[in-house]
């Protein structure tokens, strides 16, 4: 009888996790999360189920996450398969990735304790990042054809920052790819759809999912070696 109930709960948690894009939070799932926290048997069952899915179930700060492992071939998200790639051309897609990295590094910077980031500030931040990259890669791999910093830089530099002469509001909310601001807005929109950041008018802030997962899983200090391995390849 007891086991029946636990299995039912495990099933319900797994189903809801898959249906809710891998995250349970809020009052609606308070009961289920409470059960997960209180019952070690339930946790054990979920652990083994998740390992069959090549995933990991983790409770961080009253939120339950279904985290796909890196080697998972069929569950999880691929940035390279995302809408972002559909919107951008190939080189632009790489530029988009750099913009994402700049946004994350600003929002996750513990030293700055940033509550809000102005979208217009990103213009200079991306500019600085590209300049740094150009400096660092000047002597290095010029022969790499697909990924060339000069190419990305020339795309970025060839555009105007924002449409001139309009009101401030329309300047910083343009989505035309003729302007740098357009690229940034497309990326911000994408991250917003993936529920990683919030946008209120012209300022963006990190949602709890981004901070919690980055802190506890992806960039956890204990995973230093794995992160290096993933990035160096």
């Amino acid at each position: 009888m007891e086991l029946d109930r636990i299995l039912k709960d495990a099933n319900s948690i797994m189903f809801n996790l898959l249906g809710n894009r891998g995250e349970l939070s809020g009052n609606k799932y308070k009961k289920l999360i409470g059960k997960y926290k209180s019952s070690p048997e339930l946790r054990e069952i979920l652990e083994s189920t998740a390992s069959d899915y090549m995933c990991e179930v983790k409770c961080i700060d009253n939120r339950l996450f279904l985290i796909p492992l890196e080697e998972n071939p069929y569950l999880g998200f691929k940035l390279s398969d995302s809408k972002l790639k559909g919107v951008f051309k190939k080189d632009e897609y790489y530029l988009g990735n750099i913009i994402i990295a700049v946004i994350f590094s600003e929002l996750l910077n513990e030293r700055k304790e940033l509550d809000y980031l102005e979208v217009s500030d990103l213009l200079t931040l991306v500019d600085e990042s590209l300049n740094r990259a150009e400096k660092k890669q000047k002597d290095g791999n010029e022969d790499a054809e697909d990924l060339n910093i000069d190419k990305l830089k020339s795309i970025w530099d060839s555009k105007l920052p924002y449409p001139e002469g309009d009101t401030k509001k329309s300047r910083f909310s343009t989505i035309s790819l003729n302007y740098r601001m357009g690229y940034i807005n497309k990326v911000v929109k994408f991250l917003e759809q993936e529920s990683l950041i919030n946008r209120v008018e012209d300022s963006i802030s990190a949602k709890p999912r981004l901070k919690l997962l980055m802190e506890n899983r992806i960039l956890n200090v204990n995973r230093r070696y794995e992160v290096e391995k993933l990035l160096i390849g």
Partner: protein
């Protein structure tokens, strides 16, 4: 709404109207900016207060001296001593609003009309001056003036609590109940303020340990606790005094049957109010102690956590990821692996019957062949596909049979011929057959590829080329069935077929023989040796 918000407006505006008065007093000398005249006014008021603390008279001449020193050190304006004196006269005049009581006009919410609040900062007195043998005017601050200057709370809040309590005790003994009520209110406000401080400190602590200064924390917790615990017992004594006062007053009331009792009743209500306030204060003290204790626990926890985690919890994104991308752009291609847990799962990537097969990533590959064998029954789609395939094979066999038949028929007319001669004959003599023979261009192409137009047709080579013809993508043409097809037609060409089918059999058998190779080796058992094999030694059958 307005009632709630503006209920205490009067008392507030009373305090702040003094501020307005000081702000309004601007020097007529334009070399003093607004800020400078404001600070000069406060400095002059400070000087007056200082003199009264020293129990000295404050004459105009003293202020002139003070102003002279002040100008040398602070303002450094190029003004003569006469002009400086004028500055002081002007400012003091304005501060005391030319000797009159300044009326601050404002709206009184309870009365529903405008009222004038009398405001006075500086009081004057005429004193006989021995040195000059004449009367001179001295300046001092009014009570509200003191409050204005001391309202900046530069003295200790905790001291304020203690002092208010001591004065309240004295006033109570002297029978000044109205004054006691005000002082008890002051104590209540001061404790509220302390509570607020503790609360704010807790908020700062939540944001991070480094936001709280150790000095502030110790003041808020340690000193406050010391004072408040000492005061707590004093409040109980005070309350006891109040109660005894109430008792005596009530006794008096019962004894005195004649005369006016209104004074007694008034003081009893005041005493009751003091008693209520004191019990409120006791509650507040308990709240304060609790708040301080929980703050202490939080603070200790925060320190313990800070000691445990010396390094940050999270790797720095800027150096670890963005920095790597800047060094080497090819890192971008590998970001997918890092970000995998970050982005929400996309459900479309779960294996789904709704999305086409080729768009889905494969599940872990498993050997499913044994399971498939268990499924005997084919789906209807598969059945339909099989039927269609069979039809296609049959039609292609038919076509080749027709072609062969016509070819053999032509052989009766002409012993030896080329492909071109065959087609030319058909076009000129028998158009219906021509159309029949060339109806399937794809299959015809298979034949024409292997036969040149000008060479004489050799039936065996035609047959051998036909056996490789791809009929449906998976099936290869069975030449035997084509021959059988022709035999079943009972046509005149059957006699040629016996020869042809023999040839075909030979052709196929030969092919089978090629696959089996027999090798003879010579092994000498006596010498335990064997002859080395070379290509020349191999014999093929």
């Amino acid at each position: 709404m307005l009632d709630n918000v503006l209920s205490l407006y009067d008392s507030r505006i009373k305090v702040l109207s003094l501020n307005y008065l000081v702000n309004k007093a601007k020097s007529k000398f334009t070399c003093f900016s607004d800020e400078e005249s404001f600070s000069l006014s406060v400095q002059l008021l400070d000087f007056i207060m200082q003199q009264s603390f020293k129990a000295k008279h404050c004459f105009k001449e003293d202020m002139y001296k003070f102003m002279g020193e002040l100008n040398k050190v602070v303002y450094k304006k190029e003004l003569s001593s006469d002009e400086l004196e004028e500055v002081v006269d002007d400012l003091i005049n304005k501060l005391r609003s030319k000797g009159e009581v300044f009326h601050f006009e404002t709206y009184n919410h309870e009365k529903g009309s405008n009222i004038e609040i009398p405001v006075r900062l500086i009081a004057t007195n005429s004193v006989f001056k021995d040195e000059d043998d004449r009367y001179a005017i001295t300046y001092s601050l009014t009570e509200s003036g003191y409050r204005f200057l001391l309202g900046t709370k530069e003295y200790d809040d905790l001291l304020g609590i203690e002092v208010s309590r001591i004065i309240a005790q004295i006033k109570l003994e002297n029978g000044d109940f109205e004054g006691t009520v005000g002082l008890v209110q002051d104590i209540k406000n001061a404790i509220h303020l302390q509570l607020r401080k503790v609360f704010e400190c807790g908020q700062k602590l939540k944001k991070g340990l480094n936001n709280v200064k150790t000095k502030d924390y110790e003041y808020i917790t340690k000193n406050t606790l010391e004072v408040i615990i000492k005061e707590k017992s004093e409040y109980q004594d005070l309350k006891r005094d109040v109660n005894s006062h109430i008792k005596t007053k009530e006794k008096l009331k019962t004894i005195r049957t004649d005369g006016d009792n209104s004074k007694l009743e008034k003081s009893i209500t005041l005493l009751n109010r003091i008693g209520d306030d004191l019990s409120n204060i006791e509650k507040l003290v308990w709240d304060l102690i609790e708040a301080i204790q929980s703050l202490q626990v939080d603070y200790e926890n925060a320190i313990m956590n800070a000691l445990k985690v010396m390094s940050p919890k999270m790797l720095d994104f800027e150096t670890n990821v963005l920095g790597k991308i800047e060094e080497d752009l090819s890192v971008i291609d590998r970001l997918d692996n890092l970000y995998k847990p970050l982005f929400p799962l996309s459900v479309s990537r779960i294996y789904s019957p709704l999305t086409p097969y080729f768009k889905q990533d494969k599940l872990i590959e498993e050997d499913t062949s044994s399971e498939l064998e268990a499924f005997d029954s084919k789906t209807e789609l598969e059945k339909e596909q099989e039927i269609a395939l069979n039809k296609k094979i049959a039609s292609s066999e038919n076509f080749f049979a027709d072609f062969f038949e016509e070819l053999l028929k032509f052989k009766i007319i002409k012993e030896e011929f080329t492909l071109r001669e065959f087609f030319n004959y058909l076009i000129t003599e028998d158009k219906a057959t021509y159309i029949k023979v060339t109806r399937d261009t794809e299959l015809l192409r298979e034949i024409v590829i292997f036969l040149s137009e000008t060479d004489k047709i050799n039936f065996t080579s035609v047959a051998s080329s036909l056996k490789d013809v791809d009929v449906s993508g998976t099936e290869i043409l069975d030449i035997h069935r084509v021959v059988l097809n022709i035999i079943n037609r009972d046509s005149e060409v059957v006699e040629f077929l016996s020869e042809l089918s023999l040839n075909i059999d030979l052709l196929i058998n030969q092919n089978e023989d090629v696959e089996t190779i027999k090798v003879k080796t010579e092994i000498d058992l006596e010498n335990m040796s064997f002859a080395e094999l070379s290509c020349a030694d191999c014999k093929f059958y």
